[in-house]
């Protein structure tokens, strides 16, 4: 996915409006692109600030007057400029300010929960399932079924890329490599948001 495409989706990404595939692609792109990271951070901060602004109170006669002026064909250049440069942005500002408040009444963390949002959870589920294998009386066949299905999903979604450079091989022999050092190094490498 290109930077241009990602930037066009950032607003929807922040508002959690992307579908599963788009969300994956945007997050994967953000991991590698510092420019888009900064853009995303900035956009999110702007939206947060807007969310904190109080809604301006419009006078009761605002809308009738606006309608009358729009309907009249004798709008002067001054009023047209006023409409375009002030009233439209003001309305947009008002809408942006009201929107988060309206949404928070349904989905705010303090109020309740959003059901069944699909998100990137396969690796976590797989880790959990592998942990469950350690338990006595765990059913290894069903856990193995779930874990292998998760591995297939992740592989199909390119989530295994750092480990899964698919290379032709002649045969399988158990190896002693653990990837432990690589694991820690890579772990620190991707923590781009938490410099110490």
């Amino acid at each position: 996915m290109t930077c241009e495409k990602v930037r066009s989706l950032l607003s929807a990404y922040i508002d959690s409006e992307l579908d599963y595939q788009e969300l994956r692609q945007v997050e994967l792109h953000l991991l590698d692109c510092t420019y888009c990271q900064e853009e995303c951070r900035s956009l999110r901060a702007t939206k947060d600030l807007l969310g904190m602004l109080e809604s301006p109170q419009l006078p009761r006669e605002f809308w009738p007057e606006l309608k009358e002026r729009i309907n009249s064909h004798s709008v002067s250049e001054f009023y047209r400029r006023l409409l375009v440069r002030v009233l439209v942005p003001a309305c947009a500002l008002l809408a942006l300010a009201i929107l988060p408040i309206a949404l928070s009444s349904n989905t705010g963390a303090s109020k309740g929960l959003t059901e069944a949002k699909t998100d990137l959870v396969e690796p976590y589920i797989r880790e959990y399932v592998i942990s469950e294998l350690d338990r006595p009386f765990s059913d290894k066949t069903s856990l193995g079924f779930v874990a292998t299905a998760q591995a297939v999903t992740m592989y199909s979604s390119d989530l295994l890329e750092p480990y899964g450079h698919p290379t032709p091989h002649k045969g399988v022999t158990p190896s002693g490599q653990t990837g432990r050092k690589t694991q820690i190094d890579a772990f620190k490498r991707v923590m781009f948001l938490s410099p110490k």
């Binding site: 951070r41 592998i130 009386f137 079924f145 032709p168 490599q177 653990t178 432990r180 890579a186």
Partner: protein, 390 residues
């Protein structure tokens, strides 16, 4: 007459002893199970009987070699998944499972082989083989499997009412039916069928905290201690199949060491469901999911708590808590706040997980970048807004 009787008796004794010899290891396990064969002699009210049975299962089930066909059915919010598999296990470490294609499982033929050191998963439909070293084979891993089993058994005895429910015939064998009911609400319960002769689970039924069944697995046919050649556990795959190394979880470590290795402060929940203990943490790693994984257990079940430095979500504001379910039967709770992404995965009741989620307080973000001045954001916003007309 006396001579004939003596001869018949001697012959019978010889046949009986030779049969016992031929049966070999069976008698080893059968003699260690504590219960008499006749159900009339069983004390159903004595919990120690049931505890004794499951202790032997926990300790010795891996020592039973077998060849079997098994069915697994999982019920989840999006439907039902089922699969049939052929399994061979040669004690103590070799296991081969072939998951057979079925419309109910939405998967093709799949082979998984474990030799105790590594697990190989061959997916013919993708032409790929996944490889993962087993945690216990990692160098420097001082985790003692025996001590973990002992701890889990102690926890199970403390957190579950264990009872011998009945005896049943199953897949041509006699089995004890053992119930494990949680003492604390919000936990799944389980019912297992243990073979009378060997310490081996023939069937498992798992129930959600609300009492509905979440999964059942049972053997359609099983043969104990068959002749199994080592060659059966060799994975023969065609050339030019891609090999993918799956990330390894590493060893469980104390939380202070986990924090040092993760290199960021790890907020822990203030609330932990009754009966659960933190058994340690591991570094979990996938490209997009660097996370500290803290494992909690009540002996029978696991709660996995993942903390990850957030991707772009460094606003300091607590996001929505999102709850969902997975085909594994696990509940998943996700949320973000102050530069972290959090995930809880468990079969424990969703309300308990959400309570855990709300009890996590973040003192400060993991290396939060400096905030830009308010005026800078505001001027940028109005600048962008007024570009509409240009």
């Amino acid at each position: 007459m006396v001579k004939r009787l003596a001869a018949v008796t001697i012959l019978c004794l010889l046949i009986a002893s030779s049969l016992a010899t031929l049966q070999g290891p069976r008698t080893v396990f059968a003699s260690k199970l504590p219960l008499p064969e006749r159900s009339g002699d069983i004390s159903f009210s004595d919990p120690e009987v049931a505890i004794s049975i499951i202790e032997q299962v926990a300790e010795k089930s891996g020592s039973v070699s077998y060849k079997a066909t098994k069915t697994v059915i999982l019920w989840h919010p999006s439907g039902t998944s089922a699969c049939i598999s052929n399994i061979i296990h040669k004690a103590p470490n070799f296991t081969k499972t072939e998951y057979l294609p079925s419309s109910a499982s939405a998967c093709g033929f799949r082979t998984v082989i474990s030799d105790g050191k590594s697990t190989w998963h061959y997916e013919p439909s993708l032409q790929v083989v996944f490889h993962m070293p087993e945690t216990s084979s990692l160098p420097g891993n001082d985790k003692s499997e025996g001590s973990q089993k002992t701890r889990d058994m102690l926890l199970i005895k403390a957190n579950y009412k264990i009872s011998l429910v009945s005896t049943e015939n199953l897949v041509g064998r006699q089995a004890y039916v053992i119930g494990l009911e949680p003492r604390y609400p919000g936990n799944p319960s389980r019912r297992i069928w243990v073979d009378k002769e060997y310490p081996f689970i023939l069937k498992t039924e798992q129930y959600r905290p609300d009492g509905t069944m979440s999964s059942v697995s049972f053997y359609n046919q099983i043969e104990f201690f068959p002749e199994l050649s080592d060659d059966l556990f060799r994975l023969d795959i065609p050339p030019n199949v891609a090999k993918v190394e799956l990330p390894v979880s590493g060893d469980l470590m104390p939380l202070d060491r986990l924090e040092r290795e993760a290199d960021f402060p790890i907020p822990v929940p203030g609330f932990i469901p009754t009966g659960y203990v933190i058994e340690g943490g591991i570094l979990s790693l996938y490209k997009t999911f660097p996370a500290a994984h803290i494992r909690l257990t009540d002996g029978l079940n696991t709660i996995s708590y993942f903390v990850s430095p957030g991707i772009i979500r460094d606003t300091g504001v607590q996001d929505n808590i999102l709850s969902m379910s997975d085909i594994s039967g696990a509940n998943i709770v996700k949320w973000s706040g102050k530069g972290y992404d959090f995930t809880l995965v468990s079969e424990v009741d969703q309300l308990l997980l959400e309570k855990m989620a709300r009890s996590v307080s973040v003192a400060h973000a993991p290396g939060k970048p400096p905030q830009k001045p308010f005026s800078q954001y505001l001027s940028r916003f109005f600048y962008q807004l007024f570009l509409i007309d240009r």
